[in-house]
């Protein structure tokens, strides 16, 4: 009998098509698990049983008609910045606490068309700003491996539900590491696609030039299946890439013999915890045993990634979030003297601390007299960082590093020190700046029995290669099958 909560997407699909259980039963299974376990995790912001079961019934009818695809009847949950018609899209903010999206994001349209069943909307750092999911108006999300620790952020709810098996897969976004860092902290496989692969239409923007919708899954195989369904050109997003459809599941089983793995000198220098280093080293040994070779590469401008990111992302965010002004929708302060007072009070009350901090930073770096010194310079650094990667990929097929310098830290550990918090994304940010695809897979357990993530960065459009590496590694390791105690 297929275990619903541990089965792969392919196994679930096979069981649905073999009528071992129905899509309604599968959805009910996850809803009841959520009912039972999410009180501790706080991962869901919205669930709606009627809507979910209606979709599941439609999927069952489709299966009965013999028209099912690979994802028909498979449940999915969305980070709460995806617009799903008729569902709230709070973005983890008081500002949008009661905002109900009147349309579907492009990626939601695609997954609906594939017959996936929406389980609900997931908690997140407010407007995707954060690395611990402690910046949510709806409260912090807990790590299923240890409820006293953070799940990572900003897609913390996304990671928590997949880790606790409250959903077989879920969607998040990655702007500076927001899918990979929580994947690492929660022992999951998460992949940020090449910028432009997935339409941003209907995904509430944090930093437009960096945001990518991303799949979170139990394995590379599941990740590939979901990614295949998520990608495709969308005329409503001017940065969407016009490329032929790609089946990311097609080349998972290529042998790794001859694969050249680049190890950035700068990432393996000081700064990572010993337990993380140990797990990474043993994963590298495993990859070598599979036939890969490793080569040292240089990313000389790596140290500039964090400062460049914290200029560009807040700059874009300060402008993107200006539309939340209390005029047309969302929160409006109950009392105000005049128009300016309405703006000021609405935004002061509607946004949380970290969002306000980044709006202030972004406003500052775009201001007259500072633009050249900050924003323009950061854009130049961004180009240098992309060039570094381009040069490095002359010598290797993929780059491997730790995803994070430490395992998941305790709740409250870094909330008073934003810079320490920002450093949690030190290894992930540069691939966003360069627009590169990058993923995290579990590769061991470190201190406190917490998962460690291995990051695989590929050249532009090399998702298939990366997924192949990840899948081959997962064929000879079982880290991705480990379950946190509460999920067993």
């Amino acid at each position: 009998m297929t275990q619903m909560h541990t089965a792969s997407l392919a196994e679930l699909s096979a069981a649905l098509n073999a009528k071992k259980f129905s899509a309604v039963e599968l959805a009910q299974f996850y809803l009841s698990r959520t009912e039972k376990l999410d009180g501790d995790l706080n991962a869901f912001i919205s669930t709606d049983m009627d809507k979910t079961l209606a979709m599941a019934r439609a999927a069952d009818e489709r299966i009965a008609r013999g028209e099912a695809g690979a994802l028909t009847g498979i449940p999915v949950a969305y980070k709460d910045l995806f617009c799903v018609d008729g569902w709230r899209a709070t973005c983890g903010s008081r500002m949008l606490e009661n905002f109900v999206a009147p349309y579907d994001a492009h990626v939601v349209e695609l997954l609906n068309a594939a017959g996936m069943v929406t389980l609900g909307k997931l908690n997140m750092d407010e407007f995707a700003m954060g690395s611990s999911n402690e910046n949510s108006y709806f409260g912090a999300v807990k790590n299923p491996w240890d409820l006293s620790r953070v799940p990572g952020g900003s897609s913390g709810g996304t990671a928590a539900v997949v880790a606790a098996r409250l959903a077989p897969v879920a969607l998040g976004t990655d702007t500076g590491g927001s899918i990979r860092q929580p994947a690492a902290f929660c022992g999951l496989t998460g992949l940020k696609p090449t910028y432009g692969r997935v339409s941003r239409y209907g995904v509430v923007a944090y930093a437009s030039s960096l945001d990518q919708a991303s799949p979170m899954a139990k394995s590379a195989e599941d990740c590939a299946l979901l990614l295949t369904a998520m990608t495709g050109f969308d005329a409503r997003d001017s940065t969407s890439l016009q490329r032929a459809a790609e089946d990311f599941s097609a080349s998972l089983n290529q042998p790794l013999k001859g694969l050249r793995i680049g190890l950035p000198r700068e990432y393996f220098a000081d700064g990572m915890d010993a337990d993380v280093r140990l797990a990474i080293e043993s994963a590298l040994a495993e990859l070598r045993a599979l036939g890969a070779t490793t080569v040292e590469v240089n990313l000389p401008n790596a140290a500039l990634s964090l400062p460049a990111y914290y200029v560009i992302a807040p700059a874009e965010a300060s402008s993107n979030l200006s539309r939340f002004d209390g005029v047309r929708y969302g929160y409006r302060a109950p009392e105000y003297k005049d128009l300016n007072d309405m703006y000021a009070k609405t935004r002061a009350q509607g946004f949380g601390e970290e969002v306000k901090r980044r709006i202030l930073m972004g406003t500052y770096v775009l201001s007259h007299g500072y633009y050249d010194a900050f924003y323009l310079k950061a854009q130049k650094i961004r180009r240098l960082i992309a060039n570094d990667f381009r040069a490095a990929f002359e010598h290797c097929d993929v780059i491997v590093s730790p995803t994070t310098p430490t395992v998941a830290f305790p709740l409250g550990d870094k909330t008073d020190d934003p810079v320490q918090m920002y450093l949690a994304d030190i290894y992930t940010i540069s691939s966003n700046l360069a627009g590169l695809p990058a993923m995290s897979i579990p590769c061991g357990l470190g201190q406190h029995n917490m998962p460690v993530g291995l990051q695989i960065i590929g050249p532009w459009f090399a998702e298939s290669t990366m997924l192949n590496v990840a899948h081959q590694y997962q064929q000879t390791s079982d880290w991705h099958t480990r379950l946190p105690e509460m999920a067993r």
């Binding site: 995806f82 899209a89 437009s208 030039s209 402008s319 539309r323 002004d325 005029v327 775009l366 633009y371």
Partner: protein, 502 residues
Amino acid sequence: MSSTKWEVVIGLETHAQLRTQSKIFSDSSIAFGAAPNVQASAVDIALPGVLPVLNREAVVCAIKFGLAVGGTVAPRSIFARKNYFYPDLPKAYQISQFELPVVVGGSLEISVGAGDTPSQKTIHLTRAHLEEDAGKSLHEDFHGKTGIDLNRAGTPLLEIVTEPDMRSTTEAVAYAKALHALVVWIGICDGNMSEGSFRCDANVSVRPFGQAEFGTRREIKNLNSFRFMQQAIDYEIAWQIAEIEEGRKITQATVLFNPDIGETRAMRSKEDAHDYRYFPDPDLLPLDISREWVDEIHAQMPELPQAMKARFCTQYELSAYDASVLTASREMANYFAATLRSLLSKGIGIIKSAEYPSAEIYAAKLCANWVMGELSAHLSRDEIELADSPLSPLMLAGIVSRIADETISNKIAKEIFEALWQGEGVDADTIIDARGLRQISDVGAIEALVDEVLAANQKSVEEFRAGKEKAFNALVGQAMKATKGKANPQQVTDLLRKKLGG
């Protein structure tokens, strides 16, 4: 407005609303006059998650403009966000172009002064860039609150900026009129000023003649008629001169013109000026325009007014004044050209005067006279647009061709024009036949008539013989009257002279 001591310096920024089917970054309609907010889509009201997509047609308009003014169509231009909060600006930023606009440079020739020899001046353009319009804030009828109508939000605009090249209100208005005519001519703007499709901001300053530096400027916003522009700039110049002469300094400011009292009032000073925090819009890619695309549009461009005017002067030997009147609008030029084409196809019979070296030149002169004379007079008398004229070019050519072949006189032609204008008959010939207006050119008949007139007006004959030329005219008049204007006036004149031995 002129002064012997103070030199006026004016630059204009014009917002021309582009004639596209839909908005610049969404697929909403831009038709004028819809109920509030029915033409505002998710993109226009800036719902979370929506993204802009550039309307190709708006870019075509910008390219046409660049070509028409001889500017450079930038191979790469960038859309930028201009950030500021206002309730009718849904995203709290306007997508515009800042550092790299779509059109750089170019110029416009203007004619200043009336008559046959107006002086010409070149006004240089700094740039023209694409941007979206904001919505409208409605402060009336909402009981102390403000209503927001976002139908206009996202309407495509081309902002056209001049160098500070104008030295008088007259020049500024002449430029605005020439620009208006041009954007309508090339079909990128409907030019409807009362609906806000064409509106100007004027940057005005004064300085003592001979001073190299510009004076401090004030910007008059949103001038949506040429008359208001004239009044506003005149008032502003007088105000600035008076301020300086009374020992006060001009401070940089944005001002509004109140047409009810004819004055400008400061809206905000430089100190309150926004820091717009422009930066490239990450939702839009750089706008790359290929040489091939520009060439393709170039090939489809109509003949421009300046070129057409010059051609009218050389090809048809029209006066500069006639040529500029006939090319004042594309409709007028098209009407004239169609009338001429139709007339030439009917064939011009006899060219009497040596004034006209060719049938074409004769025909052009006749058409010009009728389009600028009778037609224009009727249009303005009845306050109707050329497009709504009851007379088509074909109908007018029908009248003119009967003058050319001497079937009718000018006087009869005007009668026929009036009849056609009133909707009687379908063409000149039917009216000529129905009313029996055919000119009498039979020499015998006219001779008999002249004899009758001479016999009946002995007094005038004697006066003429005594040297009074006026008396001769009276005799011509009598002869014409006797034929109800149908006699050929030239023949009558010739015969009278002969008979009177004059």
